[in-house]
């Protein structure tokens, strides 16, 4: 198991592998782009085509003020849900349920936003809190099931994703549906003006600020508090945590609850800052992408933020890429999948670039246990 303290020994390695993984994924994606690209009189276009495609991607993501704002807006939910998955990972738990937690968070926030009549100063906090609460309940249920019955969180969170999706379908077509005669789709009414996140800049809501604050608070909790210490202890070695007097089951339940809270907040911020309502089929995929983001970010706060920017940029730039090159924007999903594959199967990257194994340096060779396969840092107990 690699040492985990970021402050103590920052190893180049920790940054190198994800960066090389991204570079490799872009290179492989380039080959696919080239192969999928248009033909000129039956023959393939040159390497310049791939360069142009990537330039248009970059331009689409960062090439103008509007593009930057758009990328930033997409980054925000990724940060919240990426932190959610990261926090659970630190506790040795694999929260696959960010998608469902985000969905119920959005539903609760929208409901609180349109149905309650509150002064503006408290309406927005109530909307956000409603999203957090719904997400926390959704994650907490998985936690309680794990604590009480030992049900594995991977299974329960996946199942809760389905339940969340069906619940949204029912509520948005039924009790929470916007009944105005003009509405023809499954969505809630718009939330009250006072429940909306104010703009920092034109088009850019204050959720960005909130994401930064939440990222810092999460970092502080995980790395500086006794609660975070217990969380990391449980994640790194649950047996040792129990031996040291930590209530492991309670800490795991807490971790899934807080993880759900963060994912729920992602949904609430989308409602309060971007959509102003909850619509069936909106905000799909953020929860699943966040698993990749947490992995790519190596379960560190700074890594999650950087990965969120990358994923947001890829998604934002994809439109321009498609417009310019006639290659489907789905190529971005391919590149994201390649990044994830290469990060998850880290050995491929190490082999490609002849990097030495992560553990050889710090591990004393003689202790019996080193011969055993170390548990993976993420899923160890999961």
């Amino acid at each position: 198991m690699p040492p985990e303290r970021p402050g103590a020994v920052v190893r180049l390695d920790a940054v190198l592998v994800p960066v090389l993984a991204i570079a490799t994924a872009l290179a492989l994606g380039g080959v696919i782009l080239w192969a999928a690209g248009p033909r000129f009189e039956g023959s393939y276009l040159g390497i310049g085509f791939v360069a142009e495609a990537y330039l248009s991607l970059l331009e689409g993501a960062f090439g103008s003020r509007a593009a930057i704002v758009d990328t930033t807006l997409r980054t925000v939910p990724y940060v919240f849900s990426g932190l959610a998955v990261m926090l659970a990972f630190r506790g040795g738990l694999f929260n696959i349920g960010a998608e469902g937690q985000l969905t119920v968070g959005a539903l609760a926030a929208a409901w609180a936003g349109f149905s309650l009549d509150l002064p503006a100063i408290i309406h927005l906090p109530v909307v956000l809190a409603a999203g957090c609460l719904a997400g926390a309940v959704w994650g907490g249920v998985a936690g309680l099931l794990k604590a009480r019955t030992g049900a594995h969180e991977v299974i329960t969170t996946i199942m809760l994703n389905y339940i969340g999706g069906q619940l949204a379908s029912y509520l948005l077509n039924g009790p929470l549906r916007d009944r105005s005669p003009l509405n023809v789709i499954a969505q809630t009414p718009k939330i009250a003006e006072g429940a909306r996140l104010p703009d920092l800049l034109p088009g850019l809501h204050a959720g960005v600020l909130l994401a930064g604050i939440v990222a810092m608070v999460t970092w502080f909790i995980v790395w500086k508090t006794t609660t975070g210490f217990e969380l990391r202890m449980v994640g790194a070695n649950a047996d040792a945590a129990a031996y040291a007097g930590v209530n492991v089951v309670r800490r795991m339940t807490w971790a899934l609850g807080v993880s759900g809270l963060l994912a729920g907040l992602a949904g609430a911020v989308q409602v309060a800052g971007v959509n102003y309502r909850s619509t069936l089929g909106f905000n799909i995929g953020y929860g699943f992408d966040s698993i990749a983001i947490a992995l790519l970010g190596r379960n560190t706060v700074s890594g999650v933020v950087l990965s969120s920017v990358l994923f947001a940029a890829l998604r934002t730039g994809a439109t321009k890429l498609q417009f310019r090159t006639q290659v489907s924007a789905d190529i971005i999903s391919v590149i994201q999948a390649l990044v994830l594959l290469l990060v998850a199967a880290e050995q491929i990257v190490r082999w490609l670039y002849r990097l030495r194994a992560a553990d050889a340096v710090t591990q004393a060779p003689e202790d019996g246990a080193t011969a055993a396969i170390p548990p993976s840092p993420a899923g160890g107990e999961g």
Binding site: E4, V9, A236, A240, T362, A364
Partner: protein, 556 residues
């Protein structure tokens, strides 16, 4: 080469033994291949990052010779063994078999060339029969179906030839640990092993079982098999080996014949200085009861009864040892006392308080310290820093934390103090504890457990896998804790350890206490009999309603 060929040798083991005596192999210099050596390692060097695990190691073994490889943890024995068995490729140096240089890239290579290994943790499939385990990975088949009868015949013939008592049709799970070890040996022989490497083979055996193993090994050697026996137990090395190679800090530091060595001289070679093998301690002056166990019953992992009505008391100011072969309920007893495992009946009181309903933390706060049996699994969080591990059970208390926020400065201050007081060899308190040697890891645990408000201490296998120098220190610490007024309960599979530090020794067998001996009157033989379930009036047939044989308890 097949096992048949390998054993057709004209030289008698006695000749070989003579030649071994007359010519100890000088370590270091060796030029061209010497065909009298079956297996030879020349100038091996292996590094792991900054750590040099093997430094210019030369080592050789002749047919029919038993060579003991002696050294502390971290001395490089395991690395050398891994190189010999093809699990590790050395950075420099070479291996020769029958005088010819070979390259071993995997254990499969090693096996193909006649090198077999018996690991400390057996590589057996418990629900399979002996023959099935022997065949595994090398199954003879007839029209696509495994031909197990052939293997059974082979196993039976090997067993009778070497006087190994093993039934090819027995299910491995039902065998004692000693018998399972024989299966490993047969497995290696069946693959044509001419060199047998055994890694700490007696760690899991009773003294009597160890003697049985030695008889088998002597028989194999007499038949021409070369045996490399890795150990840190001085007594058995002296009684078994034809030649003893001592390693320290990655290098071979000496080679002696057993008749020229004593336990003290070997220990000094291993550690590089004189070592106190017996702990200097005054008679105990016990006072009030601190750990009182009455008719305690504890369930095992698989539903059986692991601890079956155990009663004893440990008083302040005494060290009580619990002897027994592993797997006789000691682990479960310790976990029940520390609060990690629920009890199924009986009472337990700690420091005068009924412990039922108190969780691990409450017991710890009441002054119960616990040195766990498995330090990698329970005692340490390997990727965490030495400092974090030193405060692993007190991280939530001031001054280490204030209002839920950890105080880095206070933590490091405590850690620095403990590192100095307990002589923990670490570059800094910030390095991950996994970078430390086994002995220093154990010192981290000892330092943490013994440094605060200690009233009762339960130490399970406190020196397992720990180097001789650290053993001395740990034993001293336990006696000091006793003298400072703590009640100390030591559970150990190492009889010598209990004989040297315990004031009273209880013997556990199949979940029960089957004997009690004052430390001053205890002998290896007497306790060994209890450990095997023999001797003593308290022992008889296994208690009625006892757990299924196959789950925890291995001894017959």
């Amino acid at each position: 080469m097949s096992p048949i060929e390998s054993h057709e040798r004209t030289t008698t083991p006695n000749d070989l033994r003579q030649s071994a005596r007359s010519a100890p192999i000088p370590s270091g210099t060796r030029g061209t291949g010497d065909p009298t050596f079956l297996l030879e390692a020349r100038h091996l060097t292996k590094r792991y990052g900054p750590v040099i695990a093997n430094r210019d190691v030369s080592f050789a073994v002749r047919p029919g010779e038993i060579v003991a490889l002696l050294g502390e943890n971290g001395a490089g024995k395991s690395t050398l063994m891994n190189v010999l068995y093809g699990m590790t490729v050395p950075d420099a140096g070479e291996l020769a078999i029958d005088g010819k240089v070979v390259r071993l890239r995997s254990p499969r290579d090693a096996l193909a060339r006649g090198i077999g290994m018996v690991h400390q943790h057996f590589m057996l499939v418990p629900p399979f029969t002996v023959a099935e385990n022997v065949a595994l990975g090398n199954e003879p088949s007839r029209r696509g179906a495994i031909d197990i009868a052939t293997v059974e015949a082979r196993v039976a013939s090997l067993a009778s030839r070497f006087g190994i008592d093993v039934d090819p049709r027995a299910i491995v799970r039902d065998l004692s640990v000693g018998q399972q070890q024989r299966v490993e040996i047969v497995k290696a022989l069946d693959r044509g092993a001419r060199v047998l490497i055994l890694d700490e083979p007696t760690a899991v055996l009773t003294p009597q079982e160890a003697e049985g193993l030695f008889r088998v090994l002597r028989g194999l050697a007499a038949d021409g098999t070369a045996i490399v026996f890795i150990s840190h137990k001085l007594g058995e090395v002296l009684s078994l080996a034809h030649r003893i190679v001592v390693m320290r800090r990655g290098a071979v530091v000496g080679e002696v014949l057993p008749e020229d060595a004593t336990a003290e001289s070997l220990a000094a070679m291993m550690v590089g200085r004189e070592v106190m093998l017996r702990v200097d301690k005054s008679p105990s002056t016990p006072t009030e009861d601190r750990i009182v166990v009455r008719d305690l019953r504890v369930a095992g992992d698989h539903g059986g009864v692991a601890v079956d009505g155990v009663s004893f008391a440990v008083r302040a100011g005494e060290i009580v040892g619990i002897a027994g072969v592993q797997g006789n309920g000691q682990t479960e007893l310790v976990e029940a006392i520390s609060g990690l495992r629920p009890t199924a009946g009986g009472t337990l009181s700690l420091v005068g308080v009924e412990a039922h309903g108190l969780d691990v933390r409450a017991r710890s706060m009441a002054g119960l310290a616990h040195v766990p049996e498995d330090r990698q699994r329970h005692g340490l969080v390997l990727p965490f820093s030495v400092a974090d591990n030193l405060v692993l059970n007190r991280y939530h208390l001031p001054p280490l934390a204030q209002r839920g926020v950890r105080q880095a400065r206070a933590i490091v201050a405590v850690a620095r103090d403990l590192v100095a007081r307990f002589d923990i060899r670490t570059p800094s308190p910030e390095v991950p504890v996994q970078a430390l040697s086994g002995g220093n890891k154990q010192k981290v645990i000892i330092a943490r457990e013994l440094s605060h408000g200690l009233r009762a201490l339960v130490a399970a296998q406190p020196t397992r896998g720990v180097d001789v120098g650290s053993i001395e220190f740990i034993h001293r610490s336990l006696v000091d804790a006793r003298d400072a007024g703590a009640a100390v309960l030591v559970v150990s599979a190492e009889l010598d350890e209990l004989l040297s530090i315990a004031d009273r020794i209880l013997v556990m067998y199949r979940g029960r206490i089957v004997g009690e001996v004052p430390g001053s009157e205890a002998t290896r033989e007497g306790i060994g009999l209890f450990m095997a379930g023999g001797g003593g009036a308290t022992q008889g047939s296994p208690p009625a309603g006892f757990a299924r044989e196959d789950d925890v308890h291995y001894v017959n």
